[in-house]
């Protein structure tokens, strides 16, 4: 009886334990412990601080809006099973298996998406980083050079002669040799 009571109390404490996170623009977010610990960085910081109760962390590299989105993702995925780390991402289908809810979540303008990816990298959240990079990968996949430039607003910084030279080197990528990524499964 006492054993159960103790465990119950610890559980309650853990659930009740929250972390206060401050963004670069001084916005404060209070989130439960387990959601915050999806970020390895925060998890390590808490461990360093020692006291698990009412820890306060400040993140000078992440703005408030982005932090809000990141925490939203963490909340959405708080019940996910722990991930098996991928040594080498599979080429063929990997970019297609983004969950629908993640697709919805990341259906944002480029700037926000990129900032989220950077934040995920900084906060060391592998799943969010994976999903984010896959989304960007999908934006690139299968597109010609002009299309890629159009999507990302990249300015062509080659002179026409240089362009021609490089194009000659890449002639082998003409459409008739291009195989759909579906068929390239190896």
């Amino acid at each position: 009886m006492r054993f159960i009571t103790l465990a119950w109390v610890i559980g309650q404490l853990a659930a009740a334990a929250t972390v206060r996170i401050t963004s670069s623009d001084n916005q404060e977010f209070t989130v439960p412990h387990d959601i915050a610990c999806q970020s390895q960085l925060i998890k390590n910081m808490i461990k360093d601080v020692g006291d698990a109760d009412k820890v306060s962390i400040s993140l000078p590299n992440v703005s408030g809006a982005i932090l809000r989105k990141v925490l939203e993702y963490a909340t959405m995925h708080k019940d996910d099973p722990p991930e098996v780390p991928e040594i080498e991402p599979k080429l063929s289908w990997s970019s297609n298996d983004i969950e629908d809810r993640d697709k919805q979540f990341l259906n944002l303008d480029q700037e926000t998406l990129f900032e989220i990816i950077l934040a995920a990298k900084y906060l060391d959240m592998k799943s969010l980083l994976g999903v984010g990079t896959k989304t960007v990968g999908n934006m690139i996949k299968g597109k010609t050079v002009e299309e890629v430039r159009a999507v990302f607003n990249i300015v062509k910084d080659y002179t026409p002669e240089e362009e021609e030279l490089i194009r000659k080197e890449k002639e082998w990528l003409e459409d008739h040799r291009r195989i759909n990524t579906n068929n390239n499964a190896e």
Binding site: S92, E115, I117, F152, I154, V155, E162, K168, L173
Partner: protein, 816 residues
């Protein structure tokens, strides 16, 4: 200067590399040209360039003149430029080549150069050798025509090479193997499949390579005897061989080629197990030999590490298999091909002995070998739950026998071949929904379920009973019709995306409209083989619109054989040539749409009837060309009738002349009179009045398809099609062949035509060959009575255009 793009501003290099890792190699190469920063990032990240794939593997055997004619696509040049180290300081583009691009390949592990014109001198060059010698482990040179025995010497600089694939390189012979054994002694895995010149003497030399662990000798038809049997001396120490594949690759046994069997002499199982005691995998695909009763026992006893076994079993082998059942159970993988003569009881004895738990593939030599009943099939799938390849003959199977099979094998089955199996709609639906990994599907002699029952009120009490559906209309009404059956097959979207190869054949009960639902749904199809008793206009159009990856297409259109009962709606015609089925639509101008009749060409009669109906219908264009056509074609009818009666159309040159000129005038006048061939348009539009012909035209020229709603429509020509096989009368005529096919099928390297009697003459064939000679490798014509190539034309085709032409089984030879 314009501000840098957002992605460049925000993303550090490592994040960009993480994104690039998710994109496939070809896209990565393209991305090098986006801007300078991306190029720098890509060039400096050797971990992105671990694999280099320049192969033409989607070409089904290699394109013709891959690179001789086209300097830019030449693999040698390309590789030289990719690996170039020299800084071009003299050129004005010095700033561009600051970074030698060879450093990005410093960690390359695998290079695939199959079916390219690579000259392996490339690997001897110092900078290449320097870069590749420490990292390259896998090299694939399958099907490269310039790989010769002597040139294999150049591979000696690749010191880390463990896997070499030189299959299908026809010029390699025993000398090449000797060269390898002297100079590239560190190889571990060697693939020598389908090298027709090597013999057992060459293979014996290979055993100088102490580290050789895997050897693939499929299809080496000159290796007639067991390599070690030719020397009586036993080698000093046992070989390290772990994997041995002998025989024929059963996947290459396509229709039209008789199954090649390997018969070996001096087979000595004891000697094999003495010499190679460490064997883990032995594949004896299609190898037919008298397995001595203890042979299999010896093999399983002596080779203690044996994990994978592929065998041919026949009547006499089965008792042996039953006796070694326990050892078979301890294997990891078993693959059996059942020869003719095995009976159902023998199969049941195998099942009773529980010899088959590790069965991964079950193939049959002949599709008429019928060994399974419902119960034995169920037992098989219970005992062998990890089957990947299953071939069945279903004479004794019930229509719902497949349902428990696919349920059991749902996560493993990849290829399913069903011959003469009755499939109920539920079975079709089960196949579609349950098979999560199915990629190839073959159903020959697909039948409409003859035992379908429908509810029907009968009797005074109004009791609803289920009775056999008797009329077609009843069947259709209750969803038992043919249309539904095919629809059930493609009802699940995931199987439609996964299916790459499909073969369907049936004599009765289906129509073109039903069949067209398959290409519409399965957009990843690469290999299509349809054998039905109707022509395929709607299917062709569906294929051209929805299947951009199609590589192989075979359409067979024939009469149902005489013994089939008249349940089919197809009326049979008493005519010599293959004829069409009922018209696909019940349009009032049905007579106009019949593509052929016994006595005249398809196209011409179509024009004739078009002219007739043009005169009769209200919206007709009585343009002058139609009238002249009518007049001309009547003359043609007579001429061709006379030819038929004469019997041999081949040698009579005089009869060719009016036919050719008529054909030409038909072509010209149709072009003149056709309002759609406008001068202003860049793309020519060809028209043909028969729906079959029109379907062929639209198939070859493709249609425009939009990828997304916002994108610019992309013309979807059938550029990838490599093999086209048309049997029976599909409405193909000279006009279509020389115009639409020549323009649209730009990568076709093999054309098989059989029975295209009407409308096809040698002029169309020659014109097509002239236009497409750069890609066309071979053309086989059978029973095309209108085609009579004279000697000059034959010479032209085979010598000047270098096309392999076979007419009625006889190869057209050069004069010298």
């Amino acid at each position: 200067m314009a501000p840098a793009a957002l992605i460049d501003q925000l993303f550090p290099t490592e994040v960009l590399i993480a994104v690039f890792k998710l994109v496939d190699e070809r896209d990565r190469c393209r991305l090098c040209t986006v801007n300078q920063r991306w190029k720098r990032v890509l060039y400096n990240a050797p971990e992105l360039w671990k694999r280099l794939d320049l192969s033409n593997r989607c070409t089904l055997g290699g394109d013709k003149f891959i690179e001789h004619l086209d300097h830019i696509k030449n693999t040698n040049n390309l590789l030289s430029s990719l690996f170039s180290q020299q800084q071009q300081t003299s050129s004005p583009y010095a700033s561009l080549s600051q970074q030698p691009s060879v450093t990005r390949f410093s960690r390359i592990t695998r290079m695939d150069l199959s079916c390219t014109g690579i000259d392996i001198d490339f690997f001897s060059q110092s900078y290449v050798a320097y870069t590749l010698s420490t990292s390259l482990t896998h090299l694939i040179l399958s099907g490269c025509p310039l790989v010769t025995s002597g040139s294999l010497f150049n591979l000696k600089s690749l010191k880390s090479l463990t896997y070499l694939d030189i299959s299908h390189c026809d010029n390699v012979d025993d000398l090449g193997l000797e060269v390898l054994s002297f100079f590239v002694t560190w190889l571990q895995e060697l693939n020598l499949a389908y090298l027709f010149k090597i013999t057992e003497h060459g293979i014996k030399k290979l055993f100088r390579m102490v580290g050789l662990r895997a050897l693939n000798l499929l299809g080496c038809c000159r290796v007639k005897s067991y390599p070690w049997a030719i020397t009586n001396a036993v080698p000093k120490s046992p070989l390290q061989l772990r994997e041995l594949s002998i025989g024929e690759d059963s996947r290459i046994q396509t229709r039209g080629f008789w199954l090649l069997w390997c018969t070996w002499q001096h087979w000595d199982m004891k000697k094999l197990s003495d010499i190679c005691p460490f064997l883990e995998t032995i594949r004896l695909n299609m190898v037919l030999f008298d397995l001595p009763p203890q042979g299999l026992q010896i093999l399983l006893d002596e080779c203690k590490h044996l994990k994978t076994l592929c065998l041919v079993i026949e009547r006499n082998t089965i008792p042996t298999l039953c006796s070694v059942a326990e050892q078979l159970r301890n294997l990891k993988m078993l693959d059996l091909t059942v020869h003719i003569g095995v009976q159902g009881e023998q199969m049941e004895s195998l099942l009773a002995a529980n010899a088959l738990p590790k069965l991964k593939a079950l193939k049959f030599h002949s599709k008429h070998t019928d060994v399974f009943t419902d119960d034995s099939l169920k037992t098989l799938t219970t005992q062998a739950p990890s089957m990947e390849y299953l071939e069945l003959n279903g004479d004794n199977l019930d229509s719902s026998a497949m349902i428990p099979v696919v349920e059991r094998l749902s996560t493993t089955l990849q290829s399913l071949l069903l011959h003469h199996v009755k499939l109920s709609n539920n079975a079709m639906r089960a196949i579609a929904k349950k098979c999560k990994t199915l990629r190839d599907l073959t159903i020959s002699d697909l039948q409409v379920d003859v035992k379908g029952t429908v509810p029907q009120r009968c009797g005074v009490n109004g009791v609803t009973e289920r009775v056999l559906a008797t009329t077609e209309r009843e069947k259709y009404k209750h969803g038992l019709g043919a249309a539904n059956k095919l629809k059930w097959l493609v009802s699940d979207p995931s199987i439609c995306m996964r299916l790459k190869k499909i073969e369907l054949a049936s004599y009765t009960g289906f129509s073109d409209k039903d069949l067209a639902c398959i290409p519409t749904a399965c957009t990843n199809l690469q290999w299509v083989d349809f054998h039905f008793s109707f022509t395929f206009p709607k299917t062709l159009v569906a294929l051209s619109k929805h299947c951009p990856n199609l590589l192989y297409l075979r359409l067979f259109h024939s009469n149902p054989p005489a013994f089939y009962d008249a349940e089919s709606p197809t009326p049979s015609r008493a005519s010599v040539s293959a004829t069409s089925a009922t018209p696909t639509t019940g349009a009032p101008n049905a007579s106009q749409r019949r593509p052929s009749s016994a006595h005249s060409s398809a196209n011409r009669i179509a024009f004739l009837q078009a002219a007739q109906s043009a005169r009769l219908s209200t919206s007709s264009r009585t343009s002058p060309f139609m009238a002249s056509l009518y007049g001309d074609t009547s003359r043609v009818n007579v001429a061709s009738k006379r030819d038929r009666r004469r019997g041999s159309g081949r040698k009579s040159v005089s009869s060719d002349v009016p036919r050719v000129s008529i054909a030409q005038s038909v072509v010209e006048s149709s072009k003149k009179g056709n309002p759609a061939t406008a001068k202003g348009k860049s793309k020519a539009v060809y028209k043909c009045s028969s729906p079959e012909g029109q379907a062929l035209i639209s198939f070859s020229l493709g249609s425009e398809v939009k990828k997304n709603a916002s994108d610019v429509p992309v013309p979807l020509f059938n550029k990838k099609l490599r093999v086209l096989d048309l049997s029976g009368n599909h409405g193909l005529s000279d006009y279509i062949l020389s115009s639409a096919f020549a323009e649209g099928l730009t990568n076709l390297h093999t054309l098989f035509l059989e029975g295209c009697d009407d409308g096809l003459t040698e002029s169309g064939v020659v014109k097509f060959a002239e236009k497409r000679w750069k890609t066309l490798k071979r053309m086989h014509l059978r029973n095309c009575r209108g085609v009579a190539l004279n000697v000059v034309q034959e010479n032209f085709l085979s010598k000047s255009l270098e096309i392999d032409v076979v007419v009625d089984g006889g190869r057209v030879r050069n004069l010298d």
